[in-house]
């Protein structure tokens, strides 16, 4: 399928021509970062029979003695086998939180989320990666199976362009459903884009992804409105997702407590990711999406 012209990707959704031009620019940057290799250019970190050295591990009975690293054995007086990388094409799974909480913020967090997802997806397709997109809430609301080639970009942009923020958040259930529908033979990179306001806890979702042997990247979208507290007074809080109503008197004490809990939430996400070796990007809505994408590309290992 021939690469679609840029103009044909401009539809009635939120991605205008200006946005698409930026995608092209980001794609160029991403290619330069990867050295311009063609074909299945993404190197997986799976250990296999490739030529490139990957890593060492302890010798276990039954291992091929030809894989022993004799130099290391001489130095450490312990046997280690040498591991080698195996080249394969990567599946990029974009999981975008489309729950109601993503509609809050100025601009709404969903806008930044879908732009980042669109950029990563377009870059991936341009790099001949397989890209799947899932719009989730309490489950998968809408999704696209893994596709390859730039010709699939229109479908990706179309889905993300129509995305709206409704319903509740259950990232674990959403991830479970994503993994069930994905090919069990395809492992790859899972990018989870959300505000992580998940009552059931979003960490179990990350663990599921890791258990599925996927490389996980977490992109937490934050909004200044989420951290701000209105002036002192009597208010009725309404949960954007559940509609629950709770009365509250905002006082300096309650204001301070909320700030602490919010900070604790952010730190909790970043700390949990760090513990799990998961790159975590906490990106406020004030940041331009292209800056966010570049940062992710350069430091997140999305592009090697």
């Amino acid at each position: 399928m021939a690469a679609p012209k840029l103009a044909s990707l401009v539809g009635s959704n939120r991605f205008g021509e200006h946005f698409l031009r930026k995608l092209e620019t980001l794609t160029v940057v991403a290619k330069r970062s990867r050295g311009g290799a063609a074909g299945a250019e993404r190197r997986g970190r799976r250990v296999g029979t490739g030529i490139e050295f990957a890593d060492h591990r302890n010798y276990a009975p039954g291992d091929d003695v030809r894989a022993l690293d004799w130099n290391l054995f001489a130095r450490l007086d312990r046997p280690f086998v040498r591991l080698r990388e195996e080249d394969e094409d990567l599946t990029l799974s974009l999981i975008v939180d489309g729950s109601a909480s993503m509609a809050l913020g100025t601009p709404p967090k969903l806008e930044l989320a879908v732009r980042i997802a669109a950029a990563l997806g377009y870059i991936g397709l341009s790099g001949l990666d397989r890209v799947s997109v899932s719009l989730v809430g309490s489950g998968v609301r809408e999704g696209l199976p893994a596709m390859r080639g730039k010709g699939s970009a229109a479908r990706v942009l179309d889905l993300l362009g129509r995305a709206d923020a409704v319903g509740r958040t259950d990232l674990e259930a959403s991830v479970r459903e994503v993994l069930r529908t994905a090919s069990a033979t395809r492992r790859g990179l899972a990018v989870l884009i959300s505000d992580f306001f998940d009552p059931a806890g979003s960490l179990r979702a990350l663990d599921r992804l890791r258990a599925a042997r996927a490389e996980v990247v977490v992109i937490q979208i934050t909004a200044p409105d989420d951290a701000s507290v209105p002036p002192d007074g009597d208010v009725v809080l309404e949960d954007a997702e559940t509609g629950e109503l709770r009365e509250l008197t905002i006082t300096p004490a309650s204001r301070k407590a909320y700030a602490e809990r919010y900070t604790s939430l952010l730190r909790g996400i970043s700390g949990a990711c760090r513990e799990r070796g998961i790159p975590c990007f906490q990106i406020p809505t004030a940041v331009a999406f292209e800056d966010a994408v570049l940062r992710i590309l350069r430091t997140g290992g999305v592009v090697a």
């Binding site: 208010v235 309404e238 509250l248 008197t249």
Partner: protein, 658 residues
């Protein structure tokens, strides 16, 4: 209220109504205020610590919420408590309500006490204030021609003393009945009402007050309170503190003057002097005129104890209308009534319309009367044309003219009446009549001599029963006076030019007598009144009175403005001396004189007792019952309300309450 407490502020019913209404209003306003802003948040659990803590938080919120309402209701309750002003019943029953009534009438200026009687009264009043119990409340009032309350009913001793010190003497006689009615009204319904009257017992029914003829020593006023069937001073403890030590006074009790009609430049005056001493006394009275005090007369009078002498002064030419009479050597206790003042009014101008031909004799005689008359002439052929003016003219003189028909009302002088419309049909003529009868007592012949009058010929007039022959010859009345309802007429039965009457000096006097009698003007009574009166002065006819008001200058020089209503001003004569009415252009328009002229007030006999109704009030008790200091509970309640307000403000701003 709890037992033993009384409400001295709001009544129980009012407090109950206010408490219910206020509580409902506060609660309703509070409930309305509880509407909260709705806020959409992404994740409610972030706002609350834990599920278990939410229950305690909800409880705390509920406590804060209703705690605020409770605070506001408590503040309202304390404010209401302050308003009802509770006080222990026992203690409140011990407090008296005292009216201290000081007499400041003219007699209180007598100098038989240290300073004056009023000074002594002030000292006694201050002693009363100092002896008031801690629960007593008092009002200071004074009276002369009217009653003045100097304070409200209060406990502030300093203010009460200041009010006593501010009482000033008056030149008016005292109106004690009006003062007692005032005190009775003030004390009605008050706890332990007490009236303390400090007076010399003088005065009586003077002044502009009601004064039902109350004289000292008799019932004061009626025995019924104003507008009710309750006896005056019913249930009121009345006490009397007398002042005054001796009876030593000689007074001018009357002074009046008037212009002589025949000689407007001269006056006659009457002066009455009375002795209120207990011994014979000789005094010199001097009458002067004008601000330069030009002496007019000086007399030495001898008075027995209590005697009254009237002295007359007549035919004295006065250069100024202001007269003053002075007892030069009275040396008595009350100088106020040693002087008296009188204003001699301007002579009344009589308007005269002469209908007839030229008559130099008549014109000359009328001219001789000067400014006292205003003369207009009408020719005989215009007699009918002038008929419409006759009713507006004081006197119409028909000189040789007899209008037909004769007027039925008015005031007319007929000189030689004749013709078919003659009010006195003539029965022919009489030649050379000799005046044989003259009514000396008649006003027309006052100071006249007519017996040798020469008359060439006179008409024989027919008299009616309304006629009086003032001067007559045998069978022929020569001068006739007629009086009927609305009609006064004088007829001279002869032609003046056919007699020697015009050549006599009696002729102008005769004309003056005729004009005076026909015009019926007051004989120039003096414009003098007793002090305390409020008089109405007609100023419509005075030049410069077309403005809306006049200035009144009192004897002490103070100036006040009096509006002109319906062509008159009202002036209160509260001082002895001259009151001048000044027009807008600064011109003096009128002058009034005021004198004490009150024998009861001038009689300084000290009264040891005073009868009020059917009782004789005793002096106040020297030491009233002492009670414990009264606690002002309302202050504490108000302070508590203020403290709660402050606390509620602080708690609201710290969001401890909502």
């Amino acid at each position: 209220m709890p037992l033993g407490m009384a409400l001295t502020g709001l009544s129980t019913l009012t407090a109950g109504i206010l408490s219910v209404a206020g509580g409902l209003a506060l609660t309703a306003l509070y409930l309305l205020r509880r509407r909260r802003e709705r806020l959409l948040v992404p994740f409610i659990p972030l706002w609350f610590s834990s599920a278990g803590g939410n229950r305690s938080e909800r409880l705390a919120r509920r406590v804060r919420r209703w705690g605020s309402l409770a605070l506001q209701l408590a503040i309202f309750a304390f404010i209401l408590l302050a308003a009802v002003d509770p006080s222990p019943s026992e203690r409140d029953a011990g407090g008296r309500t005292v009216v201290v009534l000081l007499d400041r009438s003219a007699s209180m200026q007598a100098r038989d006490e240290p300073g004056t009687r009023l000074g002594r009264a002030r000292t006694l009043a201050r002693d009363i204030i100092d002896e008031l119990g801690s629960d007593d409340r008092a009002l200071i009032a004074s009276f002369a021609g009217s009653v003045t309350a100097a304070t409200g009913i209060e406990e502030d001793r300093a203010r009460l003393r200041a009010a006593v010190d501010a009482v000033r003497p008056s030149n008016e006689p005292g109106d004690l009945p009006a003062a007692l009615i005032f005190a009775s009204t003030v004390l009605s319904g008050r706890p332990r009402p007490t009236l303390i009257l400090i007076s010399d017992g003088g005065g009586g029914d003077a002044g502009s007050g009601a004064g039902a003829g109350a004289a000292v020593g008799a019932d004061v006023g009626t025995n019924v309170g104003p507008g009710t069937d309750t006896p005056l001073l019913h249930g009121i403890d009345v006490r009397f503190l007398p002042v005054g030590r001796r009876r030593d006074n000689v007074a001018i009790v009357a002074f009046a003057a008037r212009r002589l009609p025949a000689d407007p430049t001269s006056i006659e005056s009457t002066l009455v002097v009375q002795s209120f001493r207990t011994r014979p006394t000789d005094v010199t009275v001097a009458i002067t005129a004008g601000p330069q005090r030009i002496p007019l007369a000086r007399r030495r009078l001898h008075l027995e104890p209590g005697a009254r002498i009237a002295d007359a002064l007549s035919g004295v030419a006065v250069p100024d209308a202001r007269l003053e009479a002075v007892l030069e050597d009275a040396h008595d206790d009350l100088p106020l009534d040693d002087r008296a003042f009188a204003v001699v009014p301007e002579p009344a101008r009589v308007s005269v319309l002469v209908v007839g031909g030229p008559n130099l004799y008549l014109e000359g005689a009328l001219l001789g009367l000067g400014k006292a008359i205003r003369v207009e002439h009408v020719a005989p052929d215009a007699v009918e044309a002038s008929r419409s003016r006759w009713s507006d003219t004081d006197v119409v003189i028909f000189d040789g003219v007899t209008p037909d028909p004769a007027p039925a009302t008015g005031r007319f002088l007929y000189l030689d009446p004749h013709g078919p419309a003659n009010p006195w049909p003539d029965r022919g003529a009489v030649a050379d009549p000799v005046v044989t009868d003259v009514l000396r007592a008649h006003p027309l012949t006052k100071q006249l001599g007519l017996t040798d009058l020469n008359v060439a010929s006179a008409r024989r007039l027919t008299l009616s029963r309304d006629d009086v022959a003032v001067a007559s010859a045998p069978g022929a009345p020569l001068i006739v006076a007629r009086t009927r309802a609305g009609l006064k007429q004088v007829a001279v039965a002869f032609d003046l030019r056919r007699s020697d009457l015009p050549m006599r000096s009696a002729f102008p006097l005769f004309l003056a007598n005729v004009l005076t009698w026909l015009a019926n003007r007051p004989a120039g009574e003096a414009l003098s009144w007793p002090t305390g009166r409020t008089v109405r002065v007609d100023v419509a006819h005075l030049p410069g009175s077309q403005h809306r008001g006049l200035d009144v200058v009192a004897p002490d020089g103070t100036r006040s403005h009096a509006p002109i209503l319906s062509g008159a001003v009202t002036v209160t004569l509260d001082q002895v001396g001259f009151f001048d009415l000044i027009g807008a252009n600064g011109q003096g328009l009128a002058r009034l004189a005021a004198n004490l002229a009150s024998p009861p007030e001038s009689d300084l006999e000290p009264r040891a007792t005073l009868r009020v109704g059917d009782r004789t009030p005793p002096p106040p008790d020297p030491r009233p019952r002492q009670t414990a200091p009264r606690r002002e509970w309302w202050l504490w309640a108000a302070a508590a309300a203020l403290a709660l307000c402050t606390g509620e403000w602080l708690s609201f701003h710290r969001r401890l309450t909502v």
